[in-house]
Protein backbone atom coordinates (compact mmCIF):
# COMPACT_ATOMS: atom_id res chain seq x y z
CA UNK A 1 0.00 0.00 0.00
CA UNK A 2 1.07 3.52 -0.59
CA UNK A 3 1.81 6.04 2.09
CA UNK A 4 5.43 6.42 2.93
CA UNK A 5 8.30 4.05 2.42
CA UNK A 6 9.07 1.71 5.22
CA UNK A 7 12.43 3.04 6.23
CA UNK A 8 13.15 1.37 9.49
CA UNK A 9 16.38 3.20 10.27
CA UNK A 10 15.31 4.62 13.60
CA UNK A 11 12.61 2.20 14.48
CA UNK A 12 10.22 2.64 17.35
CA UNK A 13 9.30 -0.96 17.72
CA UNK A 14 9.12 -2.19 21.29
CA UNK A 15 11.55 -5.07 20.67
CA UNK A 16 15.35 -5.06 20.60
CA UNK A 17 17.70 -6.13 17.84
CA UNK A 18 21.18 -7.48 18.58
CA UNK A 19 23.46 -8.56 15.79
CA UNK A 20 26.94 -10.02 15.53
CA UNK A 21 29.47 -9.39 12.81
CA UNK A 22 32.98 -10.60 12.09
CA UNK A 23 34.86 -12.79 9.65
CA UNK A 24 34.40 -16.56 9.52
CA UNK A 25 36.23 -18.10 12.44
CA UNK A 26 35.83 -15.07 14.71
CA UNK A 27 33.63 -17.09 17.07
CA UNK A 28 30.64 -14.76 16.66
CA UNK A 29 28.10 -17.55 16.16
CA UNK A 30 29.19 -19.27 19.36
CA UNK A 31 28.82 -16.00 21.24
CA UNK A 32 25.38 -15.39 19.80
CA UNK A 33 24.26 -18.90 20.74
CA UNK A 34 25.43 -18.34 24.32
CA UNK A 35 23.66 -15.00 24.43
CA UNK A 36 20.47 -16.67 23.24
CA UNK A 37 20.64 -19.31 26.01
CA UNK A 38 21.08 -16.62 28.61
CA UNK A 39 18.26 -14.41 27.33
CA UNK A 40 15.90 -17.36 27.29
CA UNK A 41 16.86 -18.35 30.82
CA UNK A 42 16.13 -14.76 31.87
CA UNK A 43 12.63 -15.07 30.48
CA UNK A 44 12.84 -12.89 27.38
CA UNK A 45 11.05 -13.82 24.20
CA UNK A 46 13.96 -14.49 21.89
CA UNK A 47 13.62 -14.72 18.16
CA UNK A 48 16.60 -15.96 16.22
CA UNK A 49 16.49 -14.49 12.73
CA UNK A 50 18.02 -17.08 10.46
CA UNK A 51 18.76 -16.68 6.80
CA UNK A 52 15.75 -18.72 5.77
CA UNK A 53 14.31 -16.40 3.20
CA UNK A 54 11.53 -17.27 0.82
CA UNK A 55 12.28 -20.36 -1.27
CA UNK A 56 12.01 -18.32 -4.45
CA UNK A 57 14.72 -15.82 -3.59
CA UNK A 58 16.79 -18.56 -2.02
CA UNK A 59 16.66 -20.65 -5.17
CA UNK A 60 17.80 -17.79 -7.38
CA UNK A 61 20.72 -17.12 -5.06
CA UNK A 62 21.69 -20.78 -4.92
CA UNK A 63 21.43 -21.29 -8.64
CA UNK A 64 23.32 -18.08 -9.40
CA UNK A 65 26.15 -19.17 -7.16
CA UNK A 66 26.25 -22.73 -8.38
CA UNK A 67 26.38 -21.69 -12.01
CA UNK A 68 28.72 -18.79 -11.28
CA UNK A 69 26.27 -16.44 -12.99
CA UNK A 70 26.65 -13.63 -10.49
CA UNK A 71 28.45 -10.37 -11.13
CA UNK A 72 29.34 -8.08 -8.21
CA UNK A 73 26.14 -6.13 -8.92
CA UNK A 74 23.74 -9.08 -9.12
CA UNK A 75 25.48 -10.71 -6.17
CA UNK A 76 24.82 -7.56 -4.18
CA UNK A 77 21.21 -7.17 -5.35
CA UNK A 78 20.12 -10.76 -4.83
CA UNK A 79 21.51 -10.70 -1.30
CA UNK A 80 19.71 -7.41 -0.65
CA UNK A 81 16.51 -9.02 -1.92
CA UNK A 82 17.06 -11.89 0.46
CA UNK A 83 17.74 -9.50 3.29
CA UNK A 84 14.61 -7.48 2.50
CA UNK A 85 12.54 -10.63 2.72
CA UNK A 86 14.16 -11.43 6.04
CA UNK A 87 13.47 -7.89 7.27
CA UNK A 88 9.85 -7.92 6.20
CA UNK A 89 9.09 -11.42 7.50
CA UNK A 90 11.55 -12.29 10.24
CA UNK A 91 12.72 -9.05 11.81
CA UNK A 92 9.92 -6.47 11.79
CA UNK A 93 7.10 -8.74 13.02
CA UNK A 94 8.97 -10.07 16.10
CA UNK A 95 10.23 -6.54 16.89
CA UNK A 96 6.65 -5.30 16.79
CA UNK A 97 5.76 -8.14 19.14
CA UNK A 98 8.36 -6.94 21.69
CA UNK A 99 10.74 -9.82 21.09
CA UNK A 100 14.50 -9.74 21.45
CA UNK A 101 15.69 -10.44 17.91
CA UNK A 102 19.14 -11.90 17.30
CA UNK A 103 20.88 -12.01 13.95
CA UNK A 104 24.09 -13.69 12.90
CA UNK A 105 25.51 -11.23 10.34
CA UNK A 106 23.65 -8.16 9.16
CA UNK A 107 23.95 -5.34 6.62
CA UNK A 108 27.59 -4.78 7.53
CA UNK A 109 28.47 -8.15 6.00
CA UNK A 110 27.00 -6.93 2.73
CA UNK A 111 28.77 -3.57 2.97
CA UNK A 112 32.13 -5.27 3.50
CA UNK A 113 31.70 -8.03 0.94
CA UNK A 114 30.17 -5.95 -1.84
CA UNK A 115 32.66 -3.12 -1.54
CA UNK A 116 35.54 -5.59 -1.72
CA UNK A 117 33.92 -6.82 -4.95
CA UNK A 118 34.08 -3.30 -6.38
CA UNK A 119 30.56 -2.05 -5.71
CA UNK A 120 30.33 1.61 -4.69
CA UNK A 121 30.28 2.04 -0.88
CA UNK A 122 27.76 4.86 -1.17
CA UNK A 123 25.45 2.86 -3.38
CA UNK A 124 25.38 -0.26 -1.23
CA UNK A 125 24.59 1.82 1.86
CA UNK A 126 21.67 3.43 0.04
CA UNK A 127 20.51 0.02 -1.12
CA UNK A 128 20.05 -1.11 2.48
CA UNK A 129 18.36 2.08 3.66
CA UNK A 130 15.26 0.02 4.51
CA UNK A 131 17.08 -2.03 7.15
CA UNK A 132 16.29 -1.74 10.85
CA UNK A 133 19.10 -0.14 12.81
CA UNK A 134 20.28 -2.65 15.41
CA UNK A 135 20.06 -1.82 19.12
CA UNK A 136 23.65 -3.01 19.42
CA UNK A 137 25.93 -4.32 16.66
CA UNK A 138 28.85 -6.37 17.96
CA UNK A 139 31.97 -6.74 15.89
CA UNK A 140 34.22 -9.64 16.87
CA UNK A 141 37.68 -8.46 16.00
CA UNK A 142 40.04 -11.32 15.18
CA UNK A 143 43.53 -11.44 13.71
CA UNK A 144 43.29 -13.18 10.35
CA UNK A 145 45.75 -15.94 11.28
CA UNK A 146 43.67 -17.05 14.24
CA UNK A 147 40.46 -17.04 12.25
CA UNK A 148 42.09 -18.97 9.41
CA UNK A 149 43.35 -21.64 11.78
CA UNK A 150 39.89 -22.05 13.26
CA UNK A 151 38.14 -22.54 9.97
CA UNK A 152 40.66 -24.43 7.91
CA UNK A 153 40.82 -27.02 10.66
CA UNK A 154 37.22 -28.01 10.91
CA UNK A 155 35.06 -27.36 7.92
CA UNK A 156 34.11 -28.39 4.44
CA UNK A 157 35.79 -27.07 1.35
CA UNK A 158 35.53 -23.31 0.93
CA UNK A 159 33.06 -22.38 -1.76
CA UNK A 160 33.77 -20.33 -4.86
CA UNK A 161 32.16 -17.03 -3.85
CA UNK A 162 33.07 -17.48 -0.17
CA UNK A 163 36.70 -17.54 -1.16
CA UNK A 164 36.22 -14.53 -3.42
CA UNK A 165 37.38 -16.63 -6.37
CA UNK A 166 35.38 -14.37 -8.69
CA UNK A 167 37.84 -11.59 -7.87
CA UNK A 168 40.81 -13.41 -9.41
CA UNK A 169 42.97 -12.80 -6.36
CA UNK A 170 44.66 -16.15 -6.66
CA UNK A 171 44.14 -19.51 -8.37
CA UNK A 172 44.60 -21.22 -5.04
CA UNK A 173 41.35 -21.34 -3.07
CA UNK A 174 42.97 -20.99 0.33
CA UNK A 175 45.19 -18.15 -0.77
CA UNK A 176 42.26 -16.38 -2.43
CA UNK A 177 40.19 -16.86 0.72
CA UNK A 178 42.93 -15.30 2.82
CA UNK A 179 43.31 -12.25 0.55
CA UNK A 180 39.56 -11.84 0.39
CA UNK A 181 39.11 -12.06 4.17
CA UNK A 182 41.97 -9.64 4.67
CA UNK A 183 40.14 -7.05 2.57
CA UNK A 184 36.89 -7.78 4.40
CA UNK A 185 38.64 -7.04 7.70
CA UNK A 186 39.79 -3.74 6.23
CA UNK A 187 36.18 -2.81 5.44
CA UNK A 188 34.95 -3.86 8.89
CA UNK A 189 37.57 -1.68 10.52
CA UNK A 190 36.37 1.31 8.51
CA UNK A 191 32.81 0.67 9.68
CA UNK A 192 33.56 0.58 13.41
CA UNK A 193 33.36 4.37 13.72
CA UNK A 194 30.97 4.95 10.86
CA UNK A 195 28.26 2.78 12.42
CA UNK A 196 29.34 2.66 16.03
CA UNK A 197 30.01 -1.07 16.03
CA UNK A 198 30.81 -2.39 19.51
CA UNK A 199 34.17 -4.09 19.24
CA UNK A 200 34.75 -7.33 21.14
CA UNK A 201 38.28 -8.60 21.30
CA UNK A 202 37.78 -12.12 19.96
CA UNK A 203 41.23 -13.30 21.08
CA UNK A 204 40.04 -13.38 24.69
CA UNK A 205 38.46 -16.46 26.26
CA UNK A 206 34.92 -17.41 25.29
CA UNK A 207 33.74 -16.73 28.85
CA UNK A 208 35.30 -13.29 29.03
CA UNK A 209 33.78 -12.28 25.71
CA UNK A 210 30.38 -13.60 26.71
CA UNK A 211 30.27 -11.76 30.01
CA UNK A 212 31.11 -8.50 28.24
CA UNK A 213 28.41 -9.15 25.65
CA UNK A 214 25.86 -9.93 28.38
CA UNK A 215 26.77 -6.80 30.31
CA UNK A 216 26.21 -4.59 27.26
CA UNK A 217 23.03 -6.39 26.25
CA UNK A 218 21.51 -6.19 29.71
CA UNK A 219 21.96 -2.41 29.73
CA UNK A 220 20.20 -2.16 26.40
CA UNK A 221 17.36 -4.36 27.61
CA UNK A 222 16.06 -2.04 30.27
CA UNK A 223 12.33 -1.72 29.88
CA UNK A 224 11.97 -4.72 27.61
CA UNK A 225 9.21 -6.97 28.67
CA UNK A 226 9.80 -10.46 29.99
CA UNK A 227 7.12 -13.07 29.74
CA UNK A 228 6.09 -16.28 31.28
CA UNK A 229 6.57 -18.00 27.98
CA UNK A 230 9.38 -19.95 29.59
CA UNK A 231 6.90 -22.25 31.24
CA UNK A 232 5.43 -23.07 27.90
CA UNK A 233 8.86 -23.73 26.48
CA UNK A 234 9.60 -26.11 29.33
CA UNK A 235 6.48 -28.05 28.53
CA UNK A 236 7.47 -28.12 24.88
CA UNK A 237 10.89 -29.51 25.67
CA UNK A 238 9.41 -32.06 28.05
CA UNK A 239 7.04 -33.17 25.35
CA UNK A 240 9.91 -33.47 22.94
CA UNK A 241 11.86 -35.53 25.43
CA UNK A 242 9.02 -37.91 26.02
CA UNK A 243 8.45 -38.38 22.33
CA UNK A 244 12.08 -39.23 21.84
CA UNK A 245 11.99 -41.82 24.60
CA UNK A 246 9.11 -43.69 23.02
Amino acid sequence: MAGGMKMYGKHRFPGRLFIVEGIDGSGKSTQLMLLKKWLESEGYVVYFSEWNSSPLVHEVTKRGKKKKMLTPMTFSLIHATDFADRTEHHIIPPLKASAVVLADRYVYTAFARDVVRGVSPKWVRELYAFAVKPTVAFYFRTPLDIAMKRILGGRDAIKYYEAGMDLDLSDDVEESFRCFQDRIVGEYEKMVDEFGLVVIDATRSIEEQQSEVRRIVSQALEGTKKTRIRRWLDIASLAKGSRESI
Binding site: M1, A2, G3, G4, M5, K6, M7, S54, L56, V57, E59, V60, R63, G64, M69, L70, T71, P72, M73, T74, L77, I78, A80, T81, A84, D85, T87, E88, H89, R117, G118, V119, S120, K122, W123, E126, L127, A129, F130
Partner: protein, 231 residues
Protein backbone atom coordinates in the same frame (compact mmCIF):
# COMPACT_ATOMS: atom_id res chain seq x y z
CA UNK B 1 28.98 9.42 -30.61
CA UNK B 2 26.74 8.30 -27.81
CA UNK B 3 28.99 8.77 -24.81
CA UNK B 4 27.20 6.59 -22.32
CA UNK B 5 26.85 7.33 -18.65
CA UNK B 6 25.16 5.89 -15.60
CA UNK B 7 22.35 7.54 -13.67
CA UNK B 8 24.33 7.40 -10.44
CA UNK B 9 26.91 5.13 -8.91
CA UNK B 10 27.47 2.85 -11.85
CA UNK B 11 28.30 -0.79 -12.47
CA UNK B 12 31.76 -1.92 -11.43
CA UNK B 13 34.11 -3.02 -14.16
CA UNK B 14 32.33 -1.54 -17.18
CA UNK B 15 34.24 0.54 -19.72
CA UNK B 16 31.65 2.93 -21.11
CA UNK B 17 33.91 3.88 -23.99
CA UNK B 18 33.39 0.43 -25.45
CA UNK B 19 29.66 0.83 -25.90
CA UNK B 20 28.91 1.60 -29.52
CA UNK B 21 25.29 0.65 -30.13
CA UNK B 22 22.10 2.50 -29.32
CA UNK B 23 19.81 1.92 -26.40
CA UNK B 24 16.20 2.74 -27.15
CA UNK B 25 13.45 2.33 -24.58
CA UNK B 26 9.71 2.00 -25.10
CA UNK B 27 7.82 2.89 -21.97
CA UNK B 28 4.16 3.08 -21.19
CA UNK B 29 1.58 1.34 -19.13
CA UNK B 30 0.11 -2.14 -19.58
CA UNK B 31 -1.74 -2.73 -22.82
CA UNK B 32 -0.57 0.42 -24.56
CA UNK B 33 1.00 -1.54 -27.42
CA UNK B 34 4.68 -1.53 -26.52
CA UNK B 35 5.42 -5.09 -27.60
CA UNK B 36 3.60 -4.66 -30.92
CA UNK B 37 5.77 -1.68 -31.75
CA UNK B 38 8.98 -3.31 -30.58
CA UNK B 39 8.20 -6.15 -32.99
CA UNK B 40 7.52 -3.78 -35.86
CA UNK B 41 10.58 -1.62 -35.19
CA UNK B 42 12.81 -4.66 -34.97
CA UNK B 43 11.65 -5.95 -38.34
CA UNK B 44 12.01 -2.57 -39.94
CA UNK B 45 15.50 -1.99 -38.53
CA UNK B 46 16.69 -5.45 -39.53
CA UNK B 47 15.34 -4.91 -43.03
CA UNK B 48 17.64 -1.91 -43.17
CA UNK B 49 20.67 -3.87 -42.04
CA UNK B 50 20.80 -3.13 -38.34
CA UNK B 51 21.41 -5.81 -35.76
CA UNK B 52 18.70 -5.58 -33.13
CA UNK B 53 18.29 -7.02 -29.67
CA UNK B 54 14.81 -6.83 -28.22
CA UNK B 55 14.41 -7.45 -24.54
CA UNK B 56 11.83 -6.98 -21.83
CA UNK B 57 11.17 -7.24 -18.13
CA UNK B 58 11.37 -10.45 -16.12
CA UNK B 59 13.23 -12.34 -18.75
CA UNK B 60 16.64 -12.62 -17.17
CA UNK B 61 18.41 -15.96 -17.04
CA UNK B 62 19.13 -15.45 -13.37
CA UNK B 63 15.80 -14.50 -11.85
CA UNK B 64 13.20 -14.30 -14.64
CA UNK B 65 11.42 -17.59 -13.99
CA UNK B 66 11.31 -17.23 -10.22
CA UNK B 67 10.18 -13.65 -10.43
CA UNK B 68 7.17 -14.72 -12.45
CA UNK B 69 6.35 -17.30 -9.82
CA UNK B 70 6.82 -14.77 -7.03
CA UNK B 71 4.31 -12.53 -8.77
CA UNK B 72 1.79 -15.32 -9.02
CA UNK B 73 2.19 -16.36 -5.43
CA UNK B 74 2.46 -12.77 -4.13
CA UNK B 75 3.97 -13.77 -0.80
CA UNK B 76 6.87 -11.36 -1.02
CA UNK B 77 6.78 -7.97 0.65
CA UNK B 78 6.99 -4.67 -1.22
CA UNK B 79 10.67 -3.95 -0.66
CA UNK B 80 11.63 -7.54 -1.41
CA UNK B 81 9.67 -7.45 -4.65
CA UNK B 82 11.24 -4.12 -5.72
CA UNK B 83 14.71 -5.54 -5.14
CA UNK B 84 13.87 -8.80 -6.88
CA UNK B 85 12.95 -6.76 -9.95
CA UNK B 86 16.15 -4.74 -9.62
CA UNK B 87 18.19 -7.96 -9.53
CA UNK B 88 16.45 -9.23 -12.63
CA UNK B 89 17.06 -5.94 -14.38
CA UNK B 90 20.75 -5.85 -13.41
CA UNK B 91 21.23 -9.34 -14.82
CA UNK B 92 19.72 -8.31 -18.15
CA UNK B 93 21.66 -5.08 -18.22
CA UNK B 94 25.00 -6.79 -17.66
CA UNK B 95 24.44 -9.95 -19.63
CA UNK B 96 22.27 -8.84 -22.54
CA UNK B 97 22.08 -5.11 -22.99
CA UNK B 98 25.70 -4.12 -22.38
CA UNK B 99 27.23 -6.93 -24.46
CA UNK B 100 24.86 -6.06 -27.31
CA UNK B 101 25.80 -2.38 -27.12
CA UNK B 102 29.45 -3.35 -27.10
CA UNK B 103 28.85 -5.31 -30.29
CA UNK B 104 27.17 -2.33 -31.93
CA UNK B 105 23.56 -3.56 -31.75
CA UNK B 106 20.49 -1.42 -31.51
CA UNK B 107 18.85 -2.49 -28.30
CA UNK B 108 15.09 -2.07 -28.15
CA UNK B 109 13.83 -2.57 -24.67
CA UNK B 110 10.24 -3.09 -23.68
CA UNK B 111 10.18 -1.01 -20.47
CA UNK B 112 13.19 0.04 -18.46
CA UNK B 113 13.82 1.26 -14.94
CA UNK B 114 10.94 3.75 -15.27
CA UNK B 115 8.20 1.13 -15.17
CA UNK B 116 9.93 -0.61 -12.30
CA UNK B 117 10.13 2.67 -10.41
CA UNK B 118 6.51 3.62 -11.14
CA UNK B 119 5.17 0.27 -10.01
CA UNK B 120 7.26 0.29 -6.85
CA UNK B 121 6.22 3.85 -5.95
CA UNK B 122 2.57 2.96 -6.34
CA UNK B 123 3.22 0.06 -3.95
CA UNK B 124 4.69 2.33 -1.32
CA UNK B 125 8.42 2.46 -2.02
CA UNK B 126 10.33 5.69 -1.58
CA UNK B 127 11.03 7.45 -4.93
CA UNK B 128 14.40 8.78 -3.78
CA UNK B 129 15.50 5.37 -2.61
CA UNK B 130 14.46 3.76 -5.90
CA UNK B 131 16.41 6.32 -7.88
CA UNK B 132 19.52 5.62 -5.82
CA UNK B 133 19.10 1.87 -6.23
CA UNK B 134 18.73 2.19 -10.00
CA UNK B 135 21.77 4.43 -10.13
CA UNK B 136 23.64 1.51 -11.70
CA UNK B 137 21.48 1.69 -14.84
CA UNK B 138 22.77 3.03 -18.13
CA UNK B 139 21.17 6.23 -19.42
CA UNK B 140 19.42 5.31 -22.67
CA UNK B 141 19.77 7.20 -25.96
CA UNK B 142 16.04 7.77 -26.06
CA UNK B 143 12.91 6.95 -24.11
CA UNK B 144 9.69 6.89 -26.11
CA UNK B 145 6.78 7.15 -23.78
CA UNK B 146 3.64 5.73 -25.34
CA UNK B 147 1.03 7.86 -23.68
CA UNK B 148 -2.64 7.04 -23.58
CA UNK B 149 -5.67 8.36 -21.72
CA UNK B 150 -7.33 6.04 -19.28
CA UNK B 151 -10.56 5.74 -21.33
CA UNK B 152 -8.70 4.70 -24.45
CA UNK B 153 -6.68 2.28 -22.41
CA UNK B 154 -9.75 0.59 -20.96
CA UNK B 155 -11.23 0.15 -24.44
CA UNK B 156 -8.00 -1.28 -25.76
CA UNK B 157 -7.54 -3.72 -22.92
CA UNK B 158 -11.12 -4.96 -23.21
CA UNK B 159 -10.59 -5.56 -26.92
CA UNK B 160 -7.51 -7.66 -26.33
CA UNK B 161 -6.86 -9.79 -23.27
CA UNK B 162 -9.21 -8.33 -20.67
CA UNK B 163 -8.25 -7.22 -17.19
CA UNK B 164 -5.28 -8.99 -15.67
CA UNK B 165 -4.90 -9.41 -11.92
CA UNK B 166 -1.60 -7.54 -11.69
CA UNK B 167 -2.31 -4.95 -14.33
CA UNK B 168 -5.39 -4.11 -12.32
CA UNK B 169 -3.37 -3.73 -9.14
CA UNK B 170 -5.64 -6.24 -7.45
CA UNK B 171 -2.90 -6.98 -4.92
CA UNK B 172 -3.48 -3.48 -3.59
CA UNK B 173 -7.20 -3.84 -2.95
CA UNK B 174 -8.01 -0.61 -4.71
CA UNK B 175 -11.52 -1.29 -5.87
CA UNK B 176 -14.60 -3.44 -5.61
CA UNK B 177 -13.90 -5.28 -8.84
CA UNK B 178 -11.32 -5.62 -11.60
CA UNK B 179 -12.67 -2.70 -13.59
CA UNK B 180 -12.67 -0.24 -10.73
CA UNK B 181 -9.32 -1.42 -9.53
CA UNK B 182 -7.84 -1.29 -13.03
CA UNK B 183 -8.94 2.28 -13.56
CA UNK B 184 -7.63 3.52 -10.22
CA UNK B 185 -4.38 1.65 -10.42
CA UNK B 186 -3.64 2.62 -14.00
CA UNK B 187 -4.53 6.26 -13.36
CA UNK B 188 -2.03 6.29 -10.57
CA UNK B 189 0.64 4.65 -12.72
CA UNK B 190 -0.02 7.15 -15.52
CA UNK B 191 0.39 9.99 -13.05
CA UNK B 192 3.74 8.57 -11.95
CA UNK B 193 4.86 8.26 -15.57
CA UNK B 194 3.80 11.83 -16.25
CA UNK B 195 5.93 13.01 -13.33
CA UNK B 196 8.94 11.33 -14.89
CA UNK B 197 8.59 12.98 -18.30
CA UNK B 198 10.69 15.97 -17.41
CA UNK B 199 13.02 14.38 -14.89
CA UNK B 200 14.12 11.72 -17.31
CA UNK B 201 13.56 13.46 -20.62
CA UNK B 202 10.90 11.20 -22.09
CA UNK B 203 9.73 11.83 -25.63
CA UNK B 204 5.96 11.59 -25.59
CA UNK B 205 4.36 9.55 -28.33
CA UNK B 206 0.59 9.70 -28.59
CA UNK B 207 -0.50 6.07 -28.43
CA UNK B 208 -4.20 6.61 -29.00
CA UNK B 209 -3.99 6.46 -32.79
CA UNK B 210 -3.94 3.43 -35.06
CA UNK B 211 -0.99 1.05 -35.04
CA UNK B 212 0.14 2.51 -38.37
CA UNK B 213 0.04 6.07 -37.10
CA UNK B 214 1.92 5.30 -33.93
CA UNK B 215 4.49 3.25 -35.79
CA UNK B 216 5.05 6.02 -38.31
CA UNK B 217 5.66 8.43 -35.47
CA UNK B 218 8.07 6.06 -33.74
CA UNK B 219 9.94 5.28 -36.94
CA UNK B 220 10.76 8.93 -37.53
CA UNK B 221 12.02 9.30 -33.99
CA UNK B 222 14.13 6.15 -34.11
CA UNK B 223 15.56 7.33 -37.41
CA UNK B 224 16.71 10.49 -35.72
CA UNK B 225 18.32 8.62 -32.82
CA UNK B 226 20.33 6.26 -34.93
CA UNK B 227 21.17 8.97 -37.44
CA UNK B 228 20.18 6.83 -40.34
CA UNK B 229 20.68 8.49 -43.66
CA UNK B 230 21.62 7.53 -47.16
CA UNK B 231 19.10 4.74 -47.42
Amino acid sequence: MAGYSFFGEGLPGIDLEELKGKLIVLEGTDGVGRSTHIGLLKQWLENHGHAVLDTGMTRSALAGKRLKQAKEGHTLGGITMSLFYATDFADRLENEIIPALRAGFIVLTDRYIYSLIARAIVRGADPEWLREVYGFALKPDAVFYLRIKIDDLVTRVLQSSGFDYWESGMDMHMGEDMYESFVRYQKWLLAEFDKMVETFGFEIVDASGSVEEVFENLRERVDRVIGRNGY
